[in-house]
């Protein structure tokens, strides 16, 4: 029954689409035939050559959801076999494995999972296929704007998002209620609120914590500070804009907060796990983290603040108009050398469909990249806090888009640490970062 619903929904999607391309028209016909046959209860395969696709994916998720999705896909596409090849665990190792294979011109990879920060790198190296004609604007409408922006580089679409993520503010509901405080809308309020609560609670509480160890986590945090204060890192034309008065102001504010012990002193070596444990041990009033921390915070074995956590959009800086989150998440890229592009796009579409994303959300608590799923009854029943996320996600910003992203991020994270630990002034750190970033790729 469910299968029929999905397939007919599929057919509807196809009908809605502009039928410019011959290829798509062909797909449509094939799919319509398949749907009709299926709906009529016939198990007969569509007469089309059998294809085997190779999908370089995450190590299978907790619920083995990938397998379930492939099985579902095969109900309507019996002639397409999808073989999953597991990528290494760490994101950087995934990147290296894929780069090495794709650069050697390997055509056995058809499509693969890609981090949101990889778009510019893979696109500029010409390793992946642009998807504009395969996945036109009409099909992108159901997605969160940020996820499509992150898959776009040089005005072309390179990926189909299937999972998203964005930084959010966690607060102690109980403490804020106890002292009649509002959830802060600005960083100034945040520090003032936390200081007041800390004094009244007799000390021992830090205001803010995040993943500020040298690395990608810190880049996400710092980019949020900058954008939330009206600053930028890289402009649309690729110019470096990190040395600005807005960025200086918010970095000074954060360095001062760190020096005044409003953040744990060890925060410059905290990964996301360390940050969470400080919050979960009840030592924080606020924390910046990814949405997945919420579920972990409800586990009594790991958390002493069960039921006391609230989630809100990030605050803004003194000059900002609103708090901005950086976007995380994953998308599918298609290998430029794939020999089965038509078949690949079918599965890529299916993997990003509402059905597949919903399954991943329910099984593995992924955050869906499709707007409509945030009002889905089943999802909200399981994760009531997801109803607050669309507003965070709609305003989320991709991290700086540059083919040299890894270098940009590494400079940004090291110089922000230099300012935080006080070995440079914020102004000096940002001016050094500006100079170093301008040299990248030269």
């Amino acid at each position: 029954m469910c299968a029929i619903v999905v397939t007919s929904e599929y057919a509807r999607n196809y009908i809605l689409k502009e039928e410019k391309m011959k290829k798509l028209a062909l797909c449509l016909t094939v799919l319509l035939v398949a749907t009709t046959l299926f709906a009529a209860g016939s198990k007969e395969a569509v007469p089309e050559a059998a294809v085997t696709l190779h999908w370089y994916s995450h190590a299978s998720s907790l619920g083995n959801t990938e397998k379930a999705i492939i099985e579902k896909f095969n109900e309507t596409n019996p002639n397409i076999t999808v073989e999953v090849i597991e990528l290494p665990e760490a994101t950087n190792d995934k990147l290296q494995a894929l780069l090495i294979a794709l650069q050697s011109g390997d055509s056995s990879i058809d499509f693969f999972n890609a981090d949101v920060t990889w778009t510019a790198t893979f696109a500029s190296a010409q390793l992946i296929e642009p998807l504009d004609t395969w996945f036109p604007a009409s099909e992108r409408a159901g997605f969160l704007a940020g996820t499509i922006a992150a898959a776009t580089y040089n005005d072309k679409l390179w990926g189909i998002p299937f999972r998203t993520d964005a930084g959010v503010l966690y607060y102690r509901k109980d403490l804020l209620q106890k002292y009649g405080k509002e959830v802060p809308k600005t960083y100034t309020d945040l520090f003032a609120t936390a200081q007041e609560i800390n004094e009244k609670e007799g000390g021992g509480l830090y205001a803010l914590v995040g993943s500020l160890a040298n690395g990608e986590g810190l880049t996400c945090n710092a980019v949020e500070w900058f954008y939330s204060n009206g600053g930028q890192v890289i402009g649309k034309d690729g110019s470096i804009l990190i040395d600005s008065s807005q960025n200086r102001q918010i970095l000074e504010m954060m360095s001062e907060a760190y020096a005044n012990k409003l953040m744990p002193e060890g925060v410059l070596s905290y990964g996301s796990g360390d940050a969470r444990s400080s919050m979960f041990q009840g030592k924080q009033v606020f924390m910046r983290a990814w949405p997945k921390a919420y579920a972990m915070g409800q586990d009594p074995a790991k958390s002493q603040v069960m039921g006391k956590l609230g989630v809100a959009p990030l605050p803004r800086g003194p000059q900002g108009t609103m708090g901005k989150s950086t976007l995380g998440g994953w998308q599918l890229f298609m290998n430029k050398n794939s020999k089965h592009k038509d078949a690949s796009i079918k599965f890529m579409r299916f993997y990003a469909s509402e059905y597949a994303q919903k399954l991943h959300t329910l099984n593995d608590s992924y955050m869906p990249a499709r707007t409509t799923l945030y009002t889905d009854k089943d999802i909200l029943e399981k994760y009531p806090h997801y109803s607050d996320f669309p507003q965070v996600l709609e305003t989320a910003v991709p991290r700086p888009q540059s083919p040299y992203y890894a270098e940009i991020s590494s400079i940004l994270s090291a110089e922000v640490q230099n300012a935080m630990k006080g070995s440079k002034s914020a102004a000096q750190a940002l001016s050094d970062a500006q100079k170093a970033m301008e040299q990248v790729g030269k």
Binding site: Q103, A125, Q126, G215, E265, G266, V267, A406, E407, A414
Partner: protein, 299 residues
């Protein structure tokens, strides 16, 4: 048909190993050296532009390279010197006849047997600014007033890395030295004692000189692996705070793999190779000489 001479047969037997060695060790090394002469980046596609020694000129004007080199040298020097001193002391203790000596010799190897990444995380917990046992101990002893954020400050972050490496590798050095100690014939000590040499004299005139080949081997291994330090840094600081604990290998990895700057990354790797080769050459001479000398002096 000619039959193979003994020598030819030897070469034939070696051929498979030699082939593997050529393909998997020598070829990549030479390719890396070759790549270091090109401008070659992931982002600019597969074209390589020959630029001679430009990557090396860039390197010697790169402050991040010198920062990494400085930290790597500091790390190497402090870890190797301390590990050798501690190794000598521990080996001497483990060589004393006492009950449970066998068990101790096994136990002492545990730090060395723990994977580096795991021991790195253990140290990270121990020096944690909120619940680290290291802070707890120092505070109880009255050495510090409040918990210190060891990994958030340059000097202490470097110190923790050095300490964790010493903790992990000193047992390995001591075991090598212990093996060396056991090859020294007891009769030599008896003869020296009869000649009137005290324990200190015996140690410096007999034990140390006879340990030289073993020590040289240990120092060589340690110098090379310390100079290539990477894993423990990833676990503890990831190069931070700022660039304070970024080692040469870490900078090379980031440049080559993360940033996709293959030309410049190869130049950095070639520099590391050059330094390790010099270390190895210096020592192979010492080791060979001493081992031969040792053989000749045997009764």
């Amino acid at each position: 048909m000619k039959t193979l001479t003994r020598k030819q047969f030897g070469y034939l037997c070696m051929a498979p190993t030699l082939m593997i060695f050529l393909i998997f060790a020598i070829y990549p090394v030479f390719r890396t050296i070759l790549l270091s002469l090109y401008r070659f980046r992931l982002q600019t596609g597969p074209t390589k532009t020959f630029i001679g020694l430009d990557n090396y000129f860039h390197m010697f004007g790169d402050s991040r390279f010198f920062n990494a080199l400085f930290f790597t040298l500091l790390f190497t020097l402090l870890t190797v010197v301390t590990e050798v001193i501690l190794g000598l002391i521990f080996a001497q203790l483990m060589n004393l006849p006492f009950k449970g000596r066998g068990a101790l010799r096994v136990v002492v190897l545990i730090p060395w047997a723990i994977p580096t990444i795991v021991s790195g995380f253990m140290w990270k917990f121990m020096v944690h600014d909120q619940y680290g046992v290291f802070n707890q101990i120092l505070q109880t002893l009255g050495i510090i007033d409040s918990f210190l954020p060891w990994l958030s400050r340059d000097t202490s972050a470097r110190l923790v890395l050095i300490m964790s490496d010493i903790w992990k590798t000193a047992p390995y050095v001591s075991l090598l030295v212990l093996a060396g100690l056991q090859t020294i014939p007891k009769t030599l000590y008896e003869a020296a004692a009869i000649d009137g040499a005290g324990p200190i004299r015996r140690y410096f005139s007999l034990t140390l000189p006879l340990l030289k080949p073993v020590l040289a081997t240990a120092v060589l291994f340690r110098l090379i692996s310390s100079f290539k330090v990477f894993t423990v840094i990833v676990a503890l600081t990831n190069g931070g705070p700022g660039y304070a604990t970024e080692s040469l290998t870490m900078y090379t990895m980031r440049t080559y793999f993360d940033a996709g700057n293959y030309g410049y990354g190869s130049a950095l790797a070639t520099f590391t190779l050059f330094v390790t080769c010099i270390i190895a050459l210096l020592f192979t001479d010492v080791i060979r000489g001493k081992i031969d000398g040792g053989k000749r002096s045997r009764p």
